[in-house]
Symmetry: C2
Subunit: 206 residues, 2 copies
DNA sequence: CTTGTATTGGAATGATCATTCTAATACAAG
DNA sequence: CTTGTATTAGAATGATCATTCCAATACAAG
C-alpha cells in the first residue's frame, strides 16, 4: 500500500484555491502553490497533470465549497425575494468580516483574466453565471407568482447576476465596507421596485 | 537634432494600450509590446522606464482616449437621464460592432487583476470609478432636480457604476450581443424606476 | 557629404517560469 | 524487520521573463 499523503486531496485543492483566488492564475507560480499547499511539486503533477488542470480543479472546488453554501438560500425550494436579500447581505457581511480589500468572486476574477482567451475557462465561468441566473430567476418568479422562464424574470435575474458580480469585483479595490453595504442595499431596492411593477402588471392581467 | 521616432509617443501608447487591454498586465510580455508597438525595446525603456510605467501610461491614455469620448455625453453640462441611456447603449453597440467576446473596460480589468495587491494601480482605478459616479450623480440629480451630493442620488450613481462595470466584464465572456442589450435595457429600466420614486418623494415634500 | 544623435534589432544577463527527474525518505503491508 | 510504493525536496532543464547593453543604422542639421 502507498504512503498516504500528508494532506487530503480536498485540503490540497482548498489551499491552492485560496492562492489562485487571491492572486489570479498568471501571478501564481508553482512555487507559490507548493508553499501554499505544503505538498511536493511531484505530487501535484502526478495528481493533477499541471498548473492549468489544478486551476480547473480549484474552480470546481470553488463552486462546491464557496458558491454552493452561499447560494443555498437562493436555491432552496421555497426561496423568494428575501432569500436574494440574504444572499447579498451575507456576502457583504462575510467580506467585511474577512477584511478589505476582498478577493472578489473567483469565477468573476477568472472571467476577467482568462475567459476572453481560453474557451475552457470561459465555459466553466458561463456555467456558473447560468447557475446564478437560474437560481435568481426561480426565487424572483416565486415571489411574484410567475414562471421562472418568463422573459422579464429571466432578464431581471440576469441583470442581478451581473450587478452582483460588479459588486464583488468592486470589493477587490476598496477598503470601505460601508460603500459595499450601500451598493448592496440599493441593488436590492431596485430589484424590489421592478418586482412590484411585475406584480402590478400580473394583477392587471387578471 | 535627434532622429525622429517612427511612431509618435501617442501612437506607441495607443498600441501598447490595446495589447494590455486585451490580455491584461501579467499575460503581456515586453516582446508582445515590442511587436504591438513596432518600437524597439531600448526606446520603450528610455521613454517609460519599464513595463509597469508603460502600463500606467496606458491606463492614463485609456482614460483620455476611451473613457472621455464615451463618457462625454454624461459629463455634458445639460446631461440628464437620457445621457446615461445613450452612454450605456452606445457602449453595448460599440462592443457588438467590434465583436464578441469584448475587451471589457481596462480599468475594470485592472481592478480585478491588480488593484488588490498594488496600491498605485488601485488608486488609478478608484479615481476612475469616482469620476464615473460623479458624472452619473450629476446627470441623475439634474433629471429629478436634486443636488448631485444628495445621498440617495450618490448611492444610485454608485450602483450604476458597479452594475455597468459588471456588464463590461460580462462582455469578456459571452459571444451573444443580445444578452448584453437585454441587461443594459433592464439596468436602464431599474434606474428609471428608482428615479421616479425619488421624483415622487420630492413632489410630496413640496 | 559629414557630423551628431536617437533609434534599432539583437545579443547578453540573470531571474523566474512550468515541468521533469531523481535519490532519499517515510510509511503500510506482509 | 523487510519489502514495496508514493511522496518528498531539490536539482536539472529549457523556455520565457524584464531589463541592460551595444554596434549598426537612419535621419536632421550644418
Amino acid at each position: 500500500m502507498p504512503r498516504p499523503r500528508s494532506l487530503s486531496r480536498d485540503t490540497l485543492v482548498e489551499n491552492a484555491m485560496r492562492q489562485f483566488w487571491a492572486r489570479g492564475y498568471e501571478a501564481t507560480s508553482m512555487e507559490d502553490l507548493v508553499r501554499a499547499t505544503g505538498v511536493g511539486r511531484g505530487a501535484i503533477y502526478t495528481e493533477f497533470g499541471g498548473k492549468k488542470d489544478l486551476f480547473l480543479a480549484c474552480l470546481s472546488h470553488f463552486s462546491d465549497a464557496a458558491v454552493t453554501p452561499a447560494f443555498l438560500v437562493v436555491e432552496a425550494e421555497d426561496a423568494g425575494f428575501a432569500a436574494i436579500e440574504t444572499y447579498l447581505f451575507d456576502g457583504v457581511a462575510e467580506i467585511a468580516s474577512v477584511g478589505l480589500p476582498a478577493k472578489g468572486c473567483m469565477m468573476g476574477n477568472t472571467l476577467t483574466e482568462l475567459a476572453a482567451h481560453d474557451a475552457e475557462m470561459a465555459k466553466v465561468v458561463r456555467t456558473h453565471y447560468d447557475r446564478l441566473t437560474d437560481g435568481f430567476a426561480c426565487a424572483l418568479a416565486k415571489e411574484v407568482g410567475q414562471s421562472p422562464s418568463d422573459a422579464e424574470i429571466v432578464e431581471l435575474a440576469g441583470l442581478l447576476t451581473v450587478s452582483a458580480q460588479g459588486l464583488w469585483a468592486y470589493a477587490r479595490g476598496t477598503e470601505n465596507a460601508d460603500e459595499l453595504w450601500k451598493k448592496a442595499r440599493m441593488l436590492i431596492e431596485l430589484i424590489k421596485l421592478k418586482l412590484d411593477v411585475i406584480s402590478e402588471g400580473a394583477k392587471d392581467a387578471d
